[in-house]
Amino acid sequence: MSAVTLGLIATFAPLAAALLLWALVPLRHRGAPAAWVTLLGSVIALAASVKLVIDRLGGAPDVRTTIPWIEERGRAMAELGVQLDGVSVPMLVIVCLVALCVQLFSVAYMHDEPPRAFGRYFTLHALFLFSMNVVVVSPNLLQLFAGWELVGLTSYLLIGFYFAKPSAAQAAVKAFWMTKLADMGFLFGLLVLYVNTGGFEWTAVPGTAIATWVTALLFLAVVGKSAQFPLHIWLPDAMEGPTPVSALLHAATMVAAGVFLVVRADPLFAQAPATREVMLWIGASTAVFAAGLALVQKDIKKVLAFSTCSQLGYMVAALGAGQAFAGFFHLGTHAFFKALLFLAAGSVIHAVHSNSLDDMGGLRKKLPLTTAAFVIGALSLAGVPGFAGFFSKDLVLGALEGKASWVPWAMLMGSAFLTAFYMGRVVIKAFWGAESEKAAHAHEGGLAMTGPLVALALPSLGAGFLGGWLATQVRAEYHLHLGLTPIAASAMALLGIGAAIMVFGKGGQAPLVGTLEKLDAFSLVDKTWAGAYRIGLLGVSSLAGWIDRYLIDGLMNFTGWAALEGGASARKLQTGLVRDYAMLVVVGVLVLVLIGVLR
């Protein structure tokens, strides 16, 4: 099979599953069969993408095929297609693999749901995988945008999966609004690119000024989708969704789409150093800021959510530093270990029926496998040497080393410490220490739960060693070097873990936690956005509504009123007195005669 066919299979197999489930209502409503259909779709997609990788290992070239999508004056204005190269193929595997794991995990995790909801859940999953693959294989920015929005949609629907819960409904809408707000940047970027180049290619060379505009606008979308400061506020709320969803969408794949976009559009970003500078700073600030907030969360998923923000900050910073490969690499490893962490967290939540860290504790004995998986994920996230996260984080930090300003580098270093520190906190609070009340009845889930954990733990351990291959795929230079950065980073990770054991092992509190908690509780960014929404948007809209009803429409009513009043006043002239009528006749004759005479 040709590469294009494989790419299409990888993309459309999940769509076929989704359509099948959508159309065959009984199938969907039965629940369990829906899961199998979705899984089958994902397996096919994964198989196709693995075949693609194998072909590439065998030296298959990059392929790109497009067909006209939207036309204008008889020629294509926009195209749809498939581009399979060193960026998309590895990404495809990552996405399909993580998705399959998560879906499998979900079969067990969600089995308590009513069949209809279960069916809906898997339909949405299939739809998500399709949308994500559309992003991954897209040959141009427009198709990428289409997929980008579709994953946003599935994210919205999956966050709001428990739509009966007002908080979940609110979170879903908020996520959609925030990302949509940012996506306006994407759309504007596309428009600017289109106007100046006549297309939507990331290979275009529109000149620095235009490229800066385009990339800045695109980056706005990245800030939204990848939950960078100050648009990150939706991500913690998004944890209202089922935990596997958080694992897949809000940690491993969808939020990474922003990073993927920048990696894809690297040729464009390369023409816009100013944008990169901004990215660097925003990424670094988010990394630190979110890591700080992760430290004080009581909800295990929120810790992971802020951690995701923080890690995305790393990637964005790397991209800002001009090292797309570093960001991409980190994206890949992060996908595995963060999905692993979430699924492990899901396993814990499934066992104790609570998200709160306070309800956990001492789970190490009850859930050995989960503990092992979580610890692997945490170590990888912390960047402990040997784990996948170490390699990629090292690359990111290395990318920043030697930049004009050392501040971002230092910030990321600091946040590496924080990462290890807060992950240590979670591990200790959840798995060590005294057994909590709720933990008493905890037990491991079935194979469907543990299987994916194992499947994800392996790459979390070893994916770092694939860096070299990945680098050849994207034609980047990659070599491990022993310098300041790896040593410092490793030191930071170990220091963080050590500090965590020191502090939390004794049940203590970290310094500055009080301040951070206050900061978290006050949630300034959140409140600013809420204020902007209430006062800005709702205020203006009520004003517009009032103006329309009472001024514009009022004017229309006034016109009618004036005509009617005119008629009503005029009718008084119809006095009913014959003499007046005769008078008018006389006047009429006089006027006519005058007209004639004076003519």
Binding site: W69, I70, E71, E72, R73, G74, M77, F145, A146, G147, W148, E149, L150, L153, Y156, G160, F163, A164, P166, A169, Q170, A172, V173, F176, W177, K180, M184, L187, F188, L191, V192, Y194, V195, N196, T197, G198, G199, A204, Y533, L537, L538, V540, S541, S542, A544, G545, W546, D548, R549, Y550, L551, I552, G554, L555, M556, N557, F558, G560, W561, E565
Partner: protein, 516 residues
């Protein structure tokens, strides 16, 4: 030569005539006859689409019957690419509309009769190639609305306030009679303007004819053009909801019964935009080019202002109605761009918005029929009892906010692209902002109505979609997605027409894409 175009116009009219002799007690027969009429039209429009040669473009399937030769009036029917797309839209909407009105209880015979008359008018407009006949059909399409809203509509109260409070006493603002009267009067003021413009064109054509092709070939004096264009713009524009002459729309759509809202927002408003495009832009291109910045500026107001107004509404139908105002702004914006992308987008948006708003109103009608309220505040958690409605409503919302994969995206994207590369690139900014505001209000409404805890009390036993009610969501919903993924199904037709007409515009050279 076949008579497809005559068939498409005549089928609903004949069905209406048949209805006259069907006794009003035969309720099923009434519905079946109406449905047949609608189906024949739909079938004919599909057949037209199949027969239309997309490679050649231009006017096809021509039929001519002299009507009043002394005045140069001919019943000249033919269809261009735009017409094909809009005929398909109309066919789909009327079929689903008839099915959605299956449950009309009161005076159903008259209802279906008027509905069919109206739709015959709509079809007539899209296939007329004679300005006068165009206008006749236009009027036929507009007028039945008065009775349809006035008899079968619903009323509510609008409190008096603001500087024109005193005027409220004169009218029962918010009542169906008020809505019907306002709609009819405002639209007929528009018609009056069109009539005057028509005379001007006819009088200055030299040939004293209403034949659109002859008029197209005529180079009107610039002075005449400058009078004609604003008349056409505001005349037809009133029906297209051009600010500030859109105020009939919220009240009208809110008061109208389901199928009427579907047809009116779905198809009739398009007549207005189509008129601006087909008559205004094509017949008087020089003035159109001069006026385009103003048309576009007002359209931009429409988009953003309509969306903001929608965001402030508490009544479900008003939200949808204002969203129509906003989306029709997108159409007008596309028209004002004077380039192929914009025009394609405008026509595509007509179809997309037609389907989307038809779906919206069908679902809102379902909800209203069951819950007997349109106040969003009273609703909540309806997805528990009517999941299908919820699903399709969400789909309509998504198309409304221009989500890729739905027809709304293709349309809006093309319009914005057209605007961006036109003379006034900044138009795209409020356009896109409007789409964002749309996202805010549709999703908020969606959340408020369908999400949340399962409804208790009187709303706990609301039924989901059943029997004929499936038609509208299923057909319209699927089309939204199909046209979202594969726009060329329509775009092939639209583009060939836009290409042909664009050649007449003096500004085309300026608006060319800079190709790398």
């Amino acid at each position: 030569m076949n008579h497809l175009l005559a068939t498409i116009v005549a089928a609903p009219a004949i069905a209406g005539a048949v209805l006259l002799v069907v006794p009003s007690t035969q309720r099923l027969a009434i519905r079946v006859v109406s449905l047949l009429g609608a189906l024949v039209s739909l079938g004919a429009s599909i057949q037209i689409a199949l027969q239309y040669d997309r490679a050649t473009g231009g006017l096809q399937l021509l039929e001519t019957v002299p009507l009043v030769p002394s005045l140069g009036i001919h019943l000249k029917l033919a269809v261009d690419g735009w017409g094909v797309a809009l005929l398909l839209l109309t066919g789909v909407i009327i079929v689903t509309g008839v099915l959605a009105s299956w449950s009309v209880e009161r005076r159903d015979k008259e209802f279906f009769l008027l509905l069919l008359v109206l739709v015959a008018g709509v079809f007539g407009v899209f296939v007329s190639q004679d300005l006068f006949v165009f206008f006749l059909f236009y009027e036929i399409a507009v007028l039945p609305m008065y009775l349809l809203i006035g008899i079968w509509g619903s009323s509510h109260e609008v409190p008096a306030s603001g500087p024109f409070k005193f005027a409220w006493r004169r009218f029962a603002v918010g009542s169906k009679e008020y809505a019907a009267m306002k709609l009819t009067l405002m639209l007929l003021v528009g018609s009056a303007a069109i009539l005057v413009a028509m005379f001007l064109l006819w009088g200055n054509s030299g040939a004293r004819t209403f034949d659109l092709q002859v008029l197209e070939a005529t180079k009107f004096p610039i002075g005449v053009q400058h009078v004609v264009f604003p008349l056409v713009w505001l005349g037809f524009g009133t029906l297209a909801g051009v600010f500030p002459f859109h105020t009939w729309s919220p009240d009208g759509h809110a008061s109208a019964p389901t199928a009427v809202s579907m047809l009116h927002a779905g198809v009739l408003m398009k007549l207005g935009a189509f008129g601006v495009l087909r008559i205004g832009m094509v017949l008087v291109p020089d003035a159109a080019a001069w006026w385009a910045p103003i048309v576009g500026g007002v359209a931009v107001v429409n988009v953003l202002y309509g969306a903001l107004c929608a965001a402030s509404q508490k009544d479900l139908k008003y939200i949808v109605a204002y969203s129509s105002v906003s989306h029709m702004g997108v159409v007008m914006l596309g028209i004002a761009t004077l380039n192929a992308a914009g025009w394609n987008g405008a026509v595509y948006q007509m179809v997309a918005h037609g389907i989307m708003t038809g779906l919206f109103f069908a679902l809102v009608g379902l909800v209203y029929e069951r819950a007997h309220t349109r106040a969003i505040a009273k609703m909540g958690g309806f997805a528990h009892v009517m999941p299908v409605v919820a699903g399709f409503f969400t789909l309509a919302c998504l198309s409304s906010l221009g989500l890729p994969g739905t027809a709304g995206f293709i349309a809006e994207f093309m319009v914005f692209a057209g605007a961006a590369k036109g003379a006034n690139a900044w138009w795209a900014v409020p356009g896109v902002l409007g789409a964002f505001v749309t996202a805010v209000y549709v999703l908020r409404a969606c959340k408020a109505i369908f999400w949340g805890p399962a409804p208790a009390g009187e709303y706990s036993h609301l039924e989901d979609v059943r029997r004929t009610e499936w038609a509208a969501p299923l057909v319209l919903g699927s089309l939204l997605v199909v046209f979202g993924f594969w726009p060329r199904l329509l775009l092939d037709f639209i583009d060939v027409a836009s290409q042909g007409y664009l050649g007449r515009l003096p500004l085309v050279a300026l608006a060319q894409v800079v190709t790398p």
